[in-house]
């Protein structure tokens, strides 16, 4: 530990506590409370996350105390310990990296997680798996925090998989439901498949980083340890994102088929990010993941885990920017996903699925915001993180609100709800705040962050992306108001909706808090807190962007009212008029069917089955043959020991003669 680290405030040196508290709680709740007294598991788990949130708040306070807003915000590594030592110079550490985005994510993850924990005490009340639920929720929070604070790419990979496992466990929480089991497997397999790319990317980066470490390492280390960090290792982000190393990786000598190795590595890493953040065409798992309990959807599949992909791209942003081509891929994938998911979102009937497609669309927004940024034009980077920040609050709120509604009416279909405005006033009000926020209505938070993204796209010289962003903004406003109108306004469409009741206090208190955050989060002078490079992010409202964006939003809202207020006959007529196109969108462009076709009809039938046959017959046959041969040899040799001493004597004498002959012939 260098002297500079020792001089840091106590809370920064012990920032690992943020992740350690949920871990201890996970072990305690899982091993002690769950089997013994599951009733208090919820309270203990929730308190631990509130404690972690307190520590995160302290960390953020001290970090910005050390590096005041507006100034440069360097990355520091206040804590690290050696985890694996392969050889001198090739060591993997576990530790804490603090920079603006990790501090931001610490705050977001702990605060949303704490509120979701609190809400779950009410939502999961009386569920037979109550203790198990909170165990997994704690495990997830620990894993996510470990991911956020990772100072090197191996630690992030380890926790990346851990959040994947927690997500798998929680999607399949109702494991007696076949659809939940299928969804959890789907989520795990799709993200795991994407992580294959990530792993290869890590290996390429790690190997080349290690081989260049001897040359580039010392200069980087001098520069980096001038900031506050423990000893530099080849897998550290501070090293992997350093221009000296990136220059090495992008060198033409390492290029493969005209594409630089850096671009290949970054696209592979992005594949992992795209899997976790459910970018097209790896998005198929996220809508199905809604089989999990609604608080899980709010925490994992809206506010935190799914932004891990965005976070990873931001974490490695200098490398993506250095490559250029990789960043263009990020932008295109993000922009396309954003539009694609928004279009599907307009046609879904399940309230959680609409929100899931909305999440996909907003993640696409964050991705393309990163894609339009550059090291000398970092506005998109700041805007993306800003949107991540505001989105976490209003999307978690939307999901929790939807959860409260589902809790009350026992159905997911929006066509069996209606007129809940009077029955559930608090839920209604908070849901409205979140809907307005995501639709981008001033002065709620979504307006500001969406504006920043669109402004960054326009100034970054990407007018097409800007236009696309406007279209998505209009669509977002449309589909969100569509569900708002159908669920809360009009008349009750089902008897369940008539007997609905307001959620209990533990459930509506988090809603109210999140509504407050969704409303005011936009006023945070975000650019002076989070940025990359020297220039501070864009500040203030740009009317050239705000006017078209707001217009798009209002148009979308207006269209939703036009179609869905009253009995919704106009909407049905519209859908019928679109005919085939509407069905294609409603069936989510048949992407799932395409996957099934490719996997079942082509891969399973033509590749897997022959391999299985070969394994069953040829490989197993060889194994069985070797076993059979061994046994047979054993029986034959065993028969020699028949019990006749004369035969034993012959063998003994024969052995002696054999030895003599061998010795003799060897000597001559």
């Amino acid at each position: 530990m260098s002297g500079a680290v020792a001089a840091l405030p106590f809370i920064l040196r012990n920032a690992w506590l943020v992740a350690a508290i949920p871990f201890v709680s996970f072990v305690f709740v899982g091993l002690v409370l769950r089997p013994k007294v599951p009733r208090i598991a919820g309270v203990v788990a929730t308190l631990s996350i509130f404690a972690a949130a307190g520590v995160a708040g302290g960390v953020a306070w001290e970090y910005y105390h050390l590096f005041p807003p507006g100034a440069l915000h360097p990355a520091i590594v206040p804590f690290a310990f050696e985890w694996l030592r392969f050889m001198p110079g090739l060591t993997v550490t576990m530790g804490v990296l603090l920079d603006p985005i990790s501090v931001l994510l610490l705050l977001v993850v702990t605060s949303v997680s704490a509120l979701v924990h609190l809400y779950s005490i009410g939502y999961m009340h009386g569920d037979p798996g109550f203790g198990r639920f909170f165990t997994f929720l704690n495990l997830f929070t620990f894993s996510m925090l470990g991911l956020v604070i990772a100072p090197n790419i191996l630690q992030i990979y380890v926790f990346w998989e851990l959040v994947g496992v927690s997500s798998f466990l929680l999607i399949g929480y109702y494991y007696e439901k076949p659809s939940a089991v299928a969804a959890s497997k789907k989520a795990f397999i799709v993200t795991r498949f994407a992580d294959l790319g990530f792993l290869i990317g890590v290996l390429i980066l790690g190997y080349n980083g290690y081989t260049a470490f001897g040359d580039v390492g010392p200069t980087v280390a001098r520069e980096v340890t001038g900031r506050i960090a423990t000893d530099l290792q080849p897998f550290d982000f501070l090293y992997l994102t350093h221009p000296d190393l990136l220059g090495r990786l992008a060198a033409p000598a390492l290029a493969v088929g005209g594409v630089s190795l850096l671009t290949i590595a970054m696209i592979l890493v992005f594949m992992g990010a795209a899997g976790k953040s459910a970018m097209f065409p790896l998005h198929i798992w996220l809508p199905d993941a809604m089989e999990g309990p609604t608080p899980v959807s709010a925490l994992i599949h809206a506010a935190t885990m799914v932004v891990a992909g965005v976070y990873l791209v931001a974490r490695l942003f200098p490398a993506f920017a250095f490559s250029g081509d990789a960043l263009t891929v990020v932008m295109c994938v993000g922009a396309f996903t954003s539009l694609f998911a928004a279009v599907i979102g307009c046609t879904q009937d399940d309230i959680k699925r609409v929100l899931a497609f909305s999440t996909l669309s907003q993640l696409g927004y964050m991705m393309f915001a990163l894609g339009v940024a550059a090291m000398d034009r970092p506005a998109g980077y700041t805007a993306s993180m800003f949107h991540l920040f505001t989105h976490a609050f209003f999307k978690a709120l939307l999901f929790l609100g939807a959860g409260a509604v589902i809790h009350a009416v026992h159905t997911n279909s929006i066509w069996e709800m209606g007129a809940l405005r009077r029955k559930m006033p608090i839920t209604h009000l908070t849901f409205l705040v979140a809907t307005l926020a995501i639709a981008g209505v001033w002065p709620l938070s979504g307006f500001f962050s969406k504006d920043e993204i669109l402004a960054a796209a326009l100034r970054g010289g990407h007018p097409v992306v800007f236009g696309l962003g406007l279209l998505v903004a209009a669509l977002t406003a449309f589909y969100m108001f569509r569900i708002y109108i159908v669920v809360f306004l009009g008349r009750a469409r089902h008897e369940h909706a008539e007997h609905a009741h307001e959620a209990p206090f533990v459930m509506w208190a988090p809603l109210a808090l999140l509504a407050l955050l969704s409303a005011v989060a936009g006023f945070v002078p975000f650019g002076s807190f989070v940025g990359i490079g020297a220039e501070a992010g864009h500040e203030g409202i740009d009317l050239a962007v705000a006017i078209p964006a707001s217009t798009a939003g209002v148009l979308g809202i207006g269209l939703a009212f036009l179609l869905y207020s009253g009995d919704g006959a106009r909407a049905t007529a519209g859908a019928n008029a679109l005919g085939g196109a509407y069905r294609v969108v409603k069936r989510k462009f048949y992407v799932d069917e395409l996957y099934l076709f490719v996997t079942h009809r082509i891969i399973f039938r033509h590749i897997s089955r022959p391999i299985a046959w070969f394994d069953r017959h040829a490989v197993d046959g060889m194994v069985n043959l070797s076993g059979w041969t061994t046994r047979r040899t054993g029986s034959l040799l065993g028969a020699l020991h028949g019990g006749r001493v004369q035969a034993y004597g012959v063998w003994l004498v024969g052995g002696t003669l054999f030895l003599l002959l061998v010795l003799w012939s060897a000597a001559f």
């Binding site: 061994t630 065993g638 034993y648 063998w651 003994l652 052995g655 002696t656 003599l660 010795l663 003799w664």
Partner: protein, 477 residues
């Protein structure tokens, strides 16, 4: 006084024999205790006494001799612990015809004395006489179940084959004496040169050693003798008697032929490969656990001989360590076998089914010990095998390492057969927890823990290594 341990053992043997005369049958229970005290005292004396020599160098104690004597004393101590329940009749199922406790212990101690003198012998005659002293009492022990035909057959076959091997060995010794004109081992070492007569002597001596150590094809007696002899005697045979063979091999191959042992590498490698392969393949098809242990022990001898390969002095500590690890694991296995035989009379492999349900701790001990024999990390058998394999690999016998690795896999298969019976196969109907005597429980516990600790804690190997790594260099000079 470097002969004190041997003298204590002799005195104990005589005391036991005399005490046996004056004690009533009921009081003869103390004989086992007396024997154990004597053995413990001898072990203490061995560890306390410095290395040294007597009778003008004819009796000499060096580091390797001390470690061999430790192995002999520990093996005998454990054998007595395993025997005393059967001899005292504290069993559910009586062993037919076993008895004569005083003589049993005295005979066991006399074979031990032979083994101990043998490692310290520096003269062909002493060597031969001690070897006979170490072997002949075992013939009697193998036939100890007087009214049991199988035991008698075992003893008789052992005598016939033993006599044959002994004759060959003696013929080889006489040729060595003829070549060198001296019975002093060092003098012979200085005098012998490669010649047809030496090759004949070597072939004959190797036959004698191969008989003790059960090297293929001199191993044939083992299956039949193990099958008939009393269980504790088999335990001793499989461990101490093999160590005696190894000690003679040290005396001849290192002390007499030390400067040409590396030229014998290919022959020894072939013997090792043949021994381990035959032992393992035949062990697979055995049904009786005694016969099974016979072939398991044969294969273990094949692994040990790998230590003689190559110019590397590391073979000496590797073999000694493996011997120690083997004592611990094999005695633990025999502890459980004897416990099960005492409690139920069952001695077939498939009759071990469900033992994990009735006596989980003993089954666990058995499993760990079997895994140690198979060489599964982190047990001591793995560490020992690792050193032996690396000796062979350093000497360039990569094919032998491959053969040994395949053999380890085969051995895992048949050791797992027993584990499967204990853990997976259904338990006998109405099977209840079987009672275990405190001595057996303690013996099994101590040996199992030793199997683990020897593998986990490197200090034991380091001590052996540091004490004996120079030994070969001093000898060959």
């Amino acid at each position: 006084m470097c002969m004190l341990p041997e003298l204590i053992v002799v005195a104990t043997a005589l005391t036991v024999l005399v005490a046996d005369l004056f004690l009533s049958e009921r009081r003869r229970v103390v004989l086992a205790l007396l024997t154990l005290v004597g053995l413990a005292a001898a072990l203490a004396a061995l560890l306390a006494a410095p290395a040294g020599s007597l009778f003008g160098g004819r009796f000499s104690v060096d580091e390797v001799a001390i470690w061999f004597k430790v192995v002999f004393l520990l093996a005998s101590f454990l054998t007595v612990c395993l025997s005393l329940d059967q001899l005292d009749g504290r069993v559910k199922v009586r062993v037919r015809g076993i008895g004569l406790r005083g003589e049993y212990y005295a005979v066991l101690l006399s074979t031990l004395v032979g083994a101990m003198f043998l490692v310290s012998a520096r003269d062909l005659v002493t060597l031969y006489v001690s070897l006979e002293l170490a072997t002949i009492p075992l013939f009697a022990l193998a036939a100890w179940k007087r009214s049991d035909a199988g035991s008698q057959e075992a003893g008789l076959k052992y005598v016939v084959m033993g006599a044959l091997a002994s004759a060959f060995l003696l013929y080889g010794f006489s040729l060595l004496f003829g070549l060198a004109g001296s019975t002093d081992l060092a003098a012979i070492a200085a005098a012998v040169r490669p010649s047809p007569a030496l090759f004949l002597a070597l072939a004959l001596v190797t036959t004698g050693i191969g008989f003790k150590l059960t090297l293929v094809p001199f191993h044939m007696w083992a299956g039949d003798v193990y099958e008939g002899a009393p269980l504790p005697v088999i335990a001793y045979l499989s461990v101490a008697s093999k160590a005696v063979g190894l000690a003679v091999m040290f005396q001849i191959f290192y002390r007499v032929l030390g400067h040409m042992v590396k030229d014998l590498g290919p022959l020894l490698a072939f013997l090792a490969a043949a021994t381990m392969t035959l032992g393992n393949t035949v062990a697979i098809v055995q049904r009786s656990i005694k016969r099974f242990m016979a072939f398991s022990a044969i294969s273990q001898a094949g692994y040990i001989v790998m230590g003689f390969l190559g110019p590397d002095a590391g073979g000496v500590p590797a073999m000694l360590f493996y011997m120690l690890a083997y004592v611990a694991a094999n005695m633990a296995v025999f502890g459980v076998i004897i416990f099960y035989a005492n409690a139920t009379g069952r001695e077939r492999i498939e009759e071990y089914r469900g033992l994990a349900r009735t006596n989980p701790l003993l089954a666990l001990a058995m499993m760990l010990a079997l895994f140690s024999l198979a060489g599964i990390p982190p047990l001591s058998g793995f560490v020992g095998k690792f050193f032996l394999f690396s000796i062979a690999s350093k000497a360039g016998f990569h094919w032998l390492v491959a053969v040994a690795a395949v053999n380890s896999t085969i051995s895992l298969y048949y050791y797992l057969r027993i584990v499967r019976q204990m853990y997976i196969e259904p338990v006998y109907p109405e099977a209840a927890r079987l009672p275990v005597t405190p001595t057996l429980a303690a013996t099994v516990a101590v040996t199992t823990v030793a199997s683990l600790v020897l593998g986990l804690v490197p200090v034991f190997y380091e001590v052996i290594h540091n004490q004996t790594i120079e030994w070969l260099a001093k000898l060959v000079g």
